[in-house]
């Protein structure tokens, strides 16, 4: 900031946002600028374009992209204050006010038609998948909303004042509608989109242009049409695809205004009467929100890319959406059934029998995989332990969604700091309510522990006036600041309580050091309940209150604290650095003082024992839980739950089911007797899971398959791998099998076929068996149809493993008539599994000579 001269102040900045200064951050910038009377001009130094920074439309028309140098020039009575506020905004708020765009590369990947469909002669139309999912529906075509060609004739001369009134009323009605829509349970992303729209409808430039038009003698209708044309032209010529797409937003707003000032409706309104796929050139966010969501199954857009507001909204509402489908509106007759596969990025115009069969199976596979993951894995062999739940850490609805897709038993830690950071005012109750409700809905009844804001330390926000501290981690943070900001805490507690009827919520306080803090926190919760009750707002009963264990002091008054709280969660990051008085980021001290230090493990053991002797619940949510190698220690500590990164939940569950509780107990005993962290390190197995799956399991046996072609059989078997969680990349596995199949048929005669491959698309070596109801053609050596398919998949990295030996035995056995006969006759999936196990010398659940926990781990050297 420079006090240039008497003419004004300057604020220089470089655009930090990867997708440029687009509508949503622009609306925030304009909001700040509008608080001051000073004139505020924004200039993009790259292209010389400048605009009034109080206008969202103006700002986005300057086409500011990532790394563009820009300057804000302020002139007026309050220029000093304005420049200060804007300086703070561009430095602190702007870098954080982008909603990350979804990686479109990962979304659009694929767009290859499944083999079985290709073989059945099915055609497809590729598109860019901007919101994942699969759906079928009847085609409904939305023709481009268009500005009327000529003004409807109106009698009488034009009175400018009347026309201006009309425009003002229309603007306020449209804004009011948007505000109303904002109130209804939208996702945070959806709200941001609507906010940006609202900012445009409130834009000073828009009003200025409309007024100008009327004062030059135009009617309200004409003024709106001219204004729309002006902005569409202005934004439509931008070099940035993102900004060009905003012209659709402004056009939609103008159409809404037109609707208000005239009797005729230029906005085609769509009533969906059956499950539908809506095809449009593009779609405005308001228009999308008006549609009946129960019947809108999928969207197909001709133009909009992944950054259009329609696409962003579709993602947040979970509507499968394909974009960039050229001439889509001309390709289909209304009423026709089509399939939108936004997982593969394609559209299937004809729902033939093959297509129907494929997608029925696909849906079934996706459902099965979901339930397979959410099933608790421990089996009969681990009756005594391994009941430890695997929950996930999350800080947004999207993250929670990922966690539950991976089979999380709950959210062990929902961090709320992200909601509070990067903004000028604390989040409103309504905004927080929407976020917490979204998480609780995603949880579908599973427990969600919401931790109240942990601000202070290294996390600062402008609206809490926290002192600069010499030693922030030993200072004023977490629950310690709640006394000074009771209103911020009340707002959050009210939002959590209001959301509580949507699920199973628990509230947790961070950075608790004393009993007094706990009592004060509980009083605050009661206060929030009281005000809600007096406002007549419902909230769940029996909501559990817990605390983080981060400060060692708390461990020495657990007997009293257990009487006050329902549960505890170990925050091992802070707990270990306070325990050792060693900064985790300081390499000089951090390497020796780790969570695996025997001293720290003894400390944890003591804490857990004390808490469990009082019959209270305890979990762990720190980084200690996120490391798979620590799992034996945590299991032996007998914790009720570990909370890990959402995407890795299934990995932890799988590993968990493999550990033997007694072995883990022994490891912990040895660890407690070690001298230091490195000795403990040696006790822990390096590579848990992998290769630990049995070669064959019941999930990999399919009996009575109704597949009709070789392509379908292979797809069905690959699906079985997917459901059994033995592959994450079905396409890669399928291609590997076909690469071998294409050399020459694996039909070996006698009605048997053995497709096989070596690929790391499988997570462990596996045998999969499929028996067909009706034999099919496989191009076998003896020309006979095939009724039993034995698929062998070997990982590529493992050289000459014991499993290969089993495969070679199996290959030889297939030449024996008795063996084939038995496979053909075995009545159940279990019978097939057991028979193969016996014949191949592997057991039902285990593989040859491998266990996860080494039987005789390295002995620590005695002191």
């Amino acid at each position: 900031m420079a006090d240039r001269d008497h003419r004004g102040f300057e604020v220089l900045f470089t655009c930090p946002l990867a997708s440029g200064l687009h509508a949503r951050p622009a609306s925030k910038l304009a909001e700040v600028a509008n608080r001051y009377a000073s004139e505020c001009t924004l200039t993009n130094l790259r292209n010389g374009l400048f605009a009034n920074a109080k206008s969202v439309l103006g700002i986005i028309a300057t086409d500011i992209r990532h790394q563009d140098r820009c300057v804000l020039l302020l002139a007026g009575a309050d220029q000093r204050a304005a420049s200060k506020a804007l300086q703070a905004f561009v430095q602190e708020i702007l870098p954080q006010c982008d909603v990350p765009l979804i990686d479109t590369a990962s979304l659009s990947r694929g767009s290859t038609l499944p083999r079985s469909l290709k073989a059945a002669g099915v055609t497809c139309i590729p598109g860019v998948a901007v919101s994942r999912g699969i759906a079928q529906g009847e085609v409904v075509i939305l023709n481009r909303m268009s500005l009327p060609q000529k003004e409807p004739t109106r009698p009488g001369p034009i009175n400018s004042n009347d026309e201006l009134d009309l425009i003002h009323t229309a603007l306020s009605t449209v804004r009011h509608q948007m505000v109303e829509r904002l109130k209804y349970s939208l996702t945070p992303v959806g709200s941001a989109v609507l906010q940006a729209d609202l900012a445009m409808a409130s834009d000073v430039l828009l009003l200025e242009k409309l007024t100008q038009q009327v004062l030059s003698g135009n009617s309200a209708t004409q003024a709106i049409m001219e204004t729309a044309e002006y902005f569409v032209d202005l934004l439509g010529h931008s070099e940035s695809e993102y900004i060009r797409q905003r012209s659709a937003d402004i056009e939609e707003i103008c159409l809404q205004l037109l609707e208000e000032v005239s009797d005729e409706s230029p906005m085609p309104s769509i009533q969906l009467s059956v499950p539908s796929v809506l095809i449009a050139e593009t779609l405005g966010p308001q228009q999308l929100l008006q549609l009946d969501r129960r019947r809108l199954k999928a969207l197909v857009l001709e133009h909009s890319g992944s950054t259009s507001h329609a696409a962003i909204l579709a993602r947040s509402l979970g509507i499968p959406t394909l974009a960039a489908v050229r001439n889509a509106r001309l390709l289909f007759a209304p009423g026709r059934q089509i399939v939108v596969d936004a997982n593969r990025g394609l559209l299937i115009p004809q729902v033939s029998l093959a297509v129907q069969r494929f997608y029925e199976r696909e849906q079934n596979t996706l459902d099965l995989r979901k339930t397979a993951w959410s099933r608790t894995l421990p089996t009969e062999s681990d009756t005594n332990t391994n009941s430890m739940e695997v929950a996930a850490n999350a800080s947004s609805g999207e993250e929670a969604m990922v966690a539950f897709e991976n089979g999380a038993d709950g959210i062990g830690l929902f961090r709320t700091e992200m909601i509070f950071l990067g903004r000028e005012e604390p989040p409103s109750e309504q905004e927080q309510f929407a976020i917490y409700s979204e998480v609780l809905r995603a949880a579908e009844g599973r427990p969600v522990i919401i931790r109240t804001f942990d601000i202070g330390g290294d996390k600062k926000v402008p609206y809490l006036d926290l002192p600069r501290e010499e030693n922030p981690f030993l200072g004023y943070r977490g629950a310690r600041i709640y006394g000074e900001y009771p209103q911020v805490l009340q707002t959050q507690l009210r939002a959590i309580l209001r959301a509580s009827p949507a699920g199973h919520v628990q509230i947790m306080a961070p950075m608790i050091t004393s009993l007094e803090e706990i009592v004060a926190f509980k009083v605050a919760v009661e206060e929030a309940k009281k005000t809600l009750a007096s406002d007549g707002i419902a909230f769940g009963s029996n909501i559990k209150i817990g605390i983080m264990i981060e400060v060692p002091a708390i461990a020495f008054s657990l007997d009293r604290i257990c009487r006050e709280v329902d549960f505890f969660s170990l925050g091992t990051n802070d707990l270990s650095q306070y325990f050792f008085a060693a900064d985790r980021s300081n390499a000089h001290v951090s390497s020796h003082f780790t969570v695996r230090h025997p001293g720290f493990l003894r400390f944890l053991e003591q804490i857990v024992k004390q808490i469990q002797s009082q019959h209270k619940w305890i979990g762990v949510c720190g980084d200690m839980a996120a490391n798979l190698r620590n799992l034996p220690l945590l299991l032996a500590l007998n914790l009720d739950e570990i909370s890990v990164p959402g995407a890795e939940v299934h990995e932890f569950k799988r590993a968990l089911s493999k550990y033997d509780a007694v072995d883990c107990q022994k490891i912990l005993e040895r660890a407690l007797a070690c001298k230091n962290s490195s000795e403990v390190d040696q006790l822990l197995p390096l590579q848990p899971s992998r290769q630990q799956e049995p070669l064959i399991s019941e999930e990999l046996v399919v009996l009575g398959s109704r597949s009709q072609t070789k392509e379908e059989v292979i797809e069905e078997m690959v699906d079985a791998f997917y459901v059994a969680n033995r592959t994450d990349d079905r396409h890669l596995l399928e291609e590997a099998l076909w690469a071998r199949e294409d050399l020459y048929s694996t039909g070996l005669g006698f009605g048997f076929a053995t497709p096989h491959c070596k690929t790391n698309a499988v997570t462990s070596d596996s045998i999969c068996v499929l028996r067909l109801k009706d034999p099919i053609h496989w191009d076998s050596v003896d020309g006979e149809p095939v009724s039993v398919v034995v698929l062998l998949a070997l990982r590529d990295s493992e050289s000459a493993s014991t499993h290969m030996q089993v495969f070679s035995i199996l290959a030889r056995k297939l030449m024996s008539e008795d063996f084939r006969h038995s496979l053909l006759q075995a009545e159940t999936r279990t019978a097939v599994t057991v028979y193969l196990g016996e014949q191949l010398g592997t057991t039902f659940t285990g593989t040859v000579g491998e266990t996860l926990v080494p039987k005789s781990p390295v002995q620590p050297q005695s002191p």
Binding site: G749, T754, K758, S808, A811, M815
Partner: protein, 99 residues
Amino acid sequence: MRIVAVTACPTGIAHTYMAAARLEKIAKHFGHEIKVETQGAMGIENKLTESDIRQAHIAIFAVDIEIEGRDRFNGVKVIQVPLQEALKNPEGIFTKIQH
């Protein structure tokens, strides 16, 4: 007749071993003595020794790929067939070598 054989297929996971089992079975059926070396994903197994090869009347290669140690068979009558042949029509192979 004393026969030695080598089986090898592109991936070395399944067909190498199936063909070996098949050749062993059919040879027995015809009253021949056979030893089959497999060259698969586990490397060379049941390796043919110098004396195995020296004493053999004929060598059968049921292979789809170049095998290792082909020069060991210099001076022995070799009949080479695609591996599939050993699955499709092993009897045919033995009928051929008897003439």
